[in-house]
């Protein structure tokens, strides 16, 4: 088990280095206009040249890469170009905000999808049709538009929940709940649409296995067959869905944070992309890859715990 985890961790590290290298060369290849962007329309050519030299982007790419990677390996992702502070500090401030929203969304999505998917698999009929409807609607409505509509309805018309802003959980749990309710709702619909369908498929698949008939022939109760045997065997498929959806939710959060003015990683990415704050963008990519790798490792551990075949490999 520990060997398995170490292998997964090694694979994750390799993925991190390869992906961040590719991203570095792509992102740093578009830095010609950055100095002009930062200084604005009234800057003189001399000012722009000076800033270009100061940022070090007139040097060969390989030199820049060596410097960045050298720092990155020791946890130093450089300084932001357009805001004060180091990239690592900025990320440390922003990441928890995004994770609290995405994490809540993942939990809500998993619970709702499990209930919907299992009901549809066992009951068929209306539950099946409901889940099909949800899947079309959830796919067709962009999460940020849903967010805007929720703001119009709950914040502007009904005045029930705040339209914008974020309160951290440690400051005020209730304030946090009020702040994340609308963003999480907007964010999860698409995930539920996709995940509930796949849970349904996984449960139907598990229930149609030969051993289910044999268990029934032995007199095992239907509740135990569904909740103990079928769900356990549907778990690996459901966990894969969870890991795919987690990545989708991270992406979705980038736009949702903009709608609700939440100071998270997504909002940071959008702002940095528009002004061209390349070190921050690199930091965001690295942070996201690390989060994705860690989440996948947790999912692997759970998978090994439920699925004896994985565990023994």
């Amino acid at each position: 088990m520990i060997g398995y985890l170490l292998k997964r961790a090694g694979f994750g590290l390799a993925l991190l280095i390869v992906m961040s290298t590719i991203t570095f060369f792509l992102v740093f290849s578009g830095t010609e206009r950055v100095a002009a962007n930062i200084l604005g329309d009234n800057a003189s050519d001399a000012d722009i040249a000076a800033l270009t030299t100061e940022l070090g982007i007139d040097r060969p790419m390989l030199v820049q890469y060596g410097e960045w990677m050298g720092g990155a390996l020791t946890g130093d992702l450089g300084r932001a170009w357009t805001t004060p502070g180091s990239v690592t500090e900025i990320l440390a401030r922003r990441l928890p905000v995004t994770l609290s929203i995405v994490g809540t969304a993942v939990v809500v999505m998993a619970l709702v999808s499990a209930v919907l998917g299992i009901t549809a698999a066992v009951r068929g009929g209306w539950a099946d049709r409901l889940i099909q409807l949800v899947s079309v609607i959830g796919f067709a409505i962009p999460n940020f538009w849903l967010g805007l509509m929720l703001v119009v309805l709950f914040a502007l018309n009904l005045r029930l929940l705040p339209a914008t802003g974020y309160v951290s959980f440690s400051t005020s749990p209730l304030g946090w709940l009020a702040a994340v309710t609308l963003p999480v709702t907007a964010l999860v619909l698409g995930g539920i649409a996709s995940a509930s369908q796949q849970v349904r498929g996984a449960v139907i698949d598990a229930l149609s296995q030969d051993y289910v008939r044999t268990l029934r022939a032995r007199g095992v109760r239907s509740a135990s067959i569904l909740y103990r045997h079928a769900l356990r065997n549907a778990m690996p498929a459901a966990l894969t869905v969870l890991s795919v959806q987690f990545i989708a939710l991270l992406g979705g959060a980038a736009i949702i944070e903009r709608v609700f003015a939440i100071p998270g990683l997504g909002e940071l990415t959008v702002r940095s992309a528009i002004v061209g704050d390349v070190p921050v963008l690199m930091g965001v990519v690295v942070a996201m890859i690390i989060v994705v790798i860690l989440v996948n490792m947790v999912i692997d551990v759970v998978n090994a715990w439920v699925n004896p075949k994985v565990r023994l490999k």
Partner: protein
């Protein structure tokens, strides 16, 4: 397959997709949208960027059908022009994703090896990060052209096409007709073009629909974030403008969002219609549309004290497109107490379905349409599921054909023996464990403790079958139904398992229904034999009489084929049992 037939087949496929009302509506909406995009200058009353300063955030009216936006431009005209950019962007993304993914998938699936491995890694890598974050990070490098961004997005979407194509190709690669084509000397390229593209066509069309939907949503998202050219009217850009003016003119957020949602929903519904059409071949109609299942009309036989099981005129059916299709057509048999009864016939003769209807475990949709099943004197066809459940395990037990797939792979064998005993016999876990260990020893497993702690994949097929037999007899049943219990086993193990079943039958005083196609097994084990063909019993006799003097032509034919070739159809797949 000749070209005209192919064309006709394609046309009828298209027509049947469109005969689905959802498919038709979706196709019409999409067609209308595309026409709007093409003829935008004729439809839009204003230039998309024409500003009328007094109509900033104006309400609908005065020529502006849906009102004015934050700069005083006509929302309706911008909506119409926005369709152009939306469809072009989706086209770029889908083309890049489709060409890359399908080509890569064809090669990976057809040739496998290194290319398959490496392209699999690349696909994994591309899916490891949220696409929108990557597009944001590359914004400075790509510039504000949304089409370039959509091309990059297409690359990130290509794993979907890649995986789909690769798996489909791997699925058909070893089909006989592909081998035949290869033997016939067709080049790989010809085989791919002629045979494989035919298989992947419909799934790829479905994927195109889905990916186009995703592309439209992501494109609107990027434009909403301000990463587009502000001079080009786009739905996402319109949402950005509406967002900026949310407190002044909240209604402006409706229209672009509705346009996106209708377009994407149409794409999904069209994909669903194609999928439904593809799956219709084997799908049964909804139960509500079926004629009601006919109820029992035959008066059951009077209860016979010597008989444990009396089956009278049993008809079992499954729903298909035409209604109920019977698979068991009027079977009658009587099983005496303590007897081993052989049910013999080819696969598809209805012997397994007869056995499952006694257990009350027909596959989904299957139903006893008429007839009577009397178990120990009591009619059981009309019993509720709960009453049938009470019989299973405790009084009627089951030994399946394929040992490995009949043990739950996620639970230890011990648990799978203990759980039913605790439920059925109401004994404690410790008692059940002691009894399970005794039974494992009784069925001839040398190390019961180890087997008890093992997972199913850690033991051999022969051991697994012994475990299943131990499980079946664990609650002292009166009737054991064994469905081809030795077919999946090694020849040497077959004899031992049969011997075990005979010993257990004597020891537990059970009756056995032995479903088999193997006359050797019948001769070895059975007191009475019924021969089934096409859902009916053609002959019932004592085993001795049947072998000495078969009456029915079909029985003679079966016996004849055994004599000519004793290995026919038996001893299938010994390698499976070694797993």
């Amino acid at each position: 397959m000749s070209a005209p037939a192919n064309t006709r087949e394609r046309t009828s496929f298209l027509l049947s997709v469109l005969s689905n009302p959802m498919g038709l509506i979706a196709a019409l909406i999409l067609l209308a949208m595309v026409l709007v995009a093409i003829f935008a200058p004729l439809i839009a009353p204003f230039e998309p960027n024409a500003v009328q300063i007094f109509k900033v955030n104006a309400a609908p009216g005065n020529g502006y059908l849906l009102g004015g936006d934050g700069s005083g431009r006509d929302i309706f005209s911008r909506l119409v022009y926005g369709a152009r950019n939306t469809f072009l962007g989706a086209l770029v993304a889908v083309t890049v994703a489709g060409v890359l993914g399908v080509t890569g998938g064809l090669f990976a699936g057809y040739y496998g090896k290194t290319f398959d491995t490496v392209s699999g890694w690349i696909a994994d890598g591309l899916m490891a990060l949220p696409a929108i974050i990557v597009l944001l990070a590359l914004f400075q490098a790509l510039g504000s052209s949304i089409y370039l961004s959509m091309a990059v997005f297409g690359v990130m979407l290509s794993p979907g096409f890649f995986r789909l194509t690769r798996n489909l190709v791997r699925g058909v690669k070893h089909e006989l007709y592909i081998d035949a084509a290869r033997v016939a000397g067709l080049s790989d390229i010809r085989i791919i073009l002629r045979h494989i593209l035919l298989v992947i066509r419909a799934p790829v069309v479905i994927q195109v629909s889905i990916v186009a939907g995703i592309a439209i949503v992501i494109q609107a998202g990027l434009e909403f974030l301000g990463l587009g050219d502000s001079n080009v009217p786009t739905w996402g850009g319109m949402l950005q403008d509406a967002f900026a003016n949310l407190y002044v003119a909240p209604k402006s957020v409706y229209w672009p969002g509705l346009a996106i949602s209708f377009t994407v929903a149409s794409l999904v519904l069209l994909a669903n219609a194609i999928r439904d059409r593809m799956q219709r071949g084997d799908a049964a109609p909804r139960a509500a549309k079926l004629p009601p299942a006919p109820t029992s009309v035959t008066a059951p036989l009077p209860a016979d004290k010597d008989a444990l099981l009396q089956v009278q005129d049993l008809v079992v059916g499954y729903p298909d497109r035409a209604g109920w299709k019977p698979v068991v057509k009027g079977v009658s048999l009587t099983l005496k107490r303590g007897e081993i009864f052989g049910l013999v016939g080819e696969s598809g003769s209805g012997k397994t379905q007869t056995a499952f209807s006694v257990l009350g475990l027909l596959s989904t949709g299957g139903r006893v349409l008429s007839g009577s099943i009397r178990f120990d004197g009591d009619e059981i066809t009309g019993l509720s599921e709960a009453q049938r459940h009470a019989l299973r395990g405790k009084r009627i037990a089951y030994v399946p054909q394929e040992p490995m797939s009949n043990l739950d792979p996620s639970f230890k064998i011990g648990f799978q023996l203990v759980e039913p005993m605790v439920t059925v016999l109401g004994i404690s876990k410790a008692e059940a464990k002691a009894r399970a260990l005794q039974l494992l020893a009784r069925v001839g497993l040398p190390d019961p403790e180890r087997v008890f702690r093992s997972y199913p994949h850690e033991i051999s097929g022969g051991m697994a079958q012994r475990v299943l037999i131990a499980g079946a007899v664990s609650c002292n049943p009166d009737l054991l139904i064994a469905d081809e219990p030795t077919t999946a086993l090694d020849v040497t193990v077959q004899m031992e398992v049969l011997e075990l079943m005979r010993d257990l039958q004597a020891e537990f005083g059970m009756s056995i229904i032995l479903v088999t196609h193997n006359f050797g097994v019948v001769a070895d084990m059975c007191d009475t034999v019924a021969v089934m063909k096409d859902g009916q019993i053609v002959e019932t006799a004592s085993a001795d009489a049947l072998f000495a003097d078969p009456q029915h032509d079909y029985t003679k034919m079966l016996l004849g084929s055994v004599l000519e070739d004793p290995e026919t159809r038996s001893y299938r797949a010994p390698e499976e049992s070694a797993a």
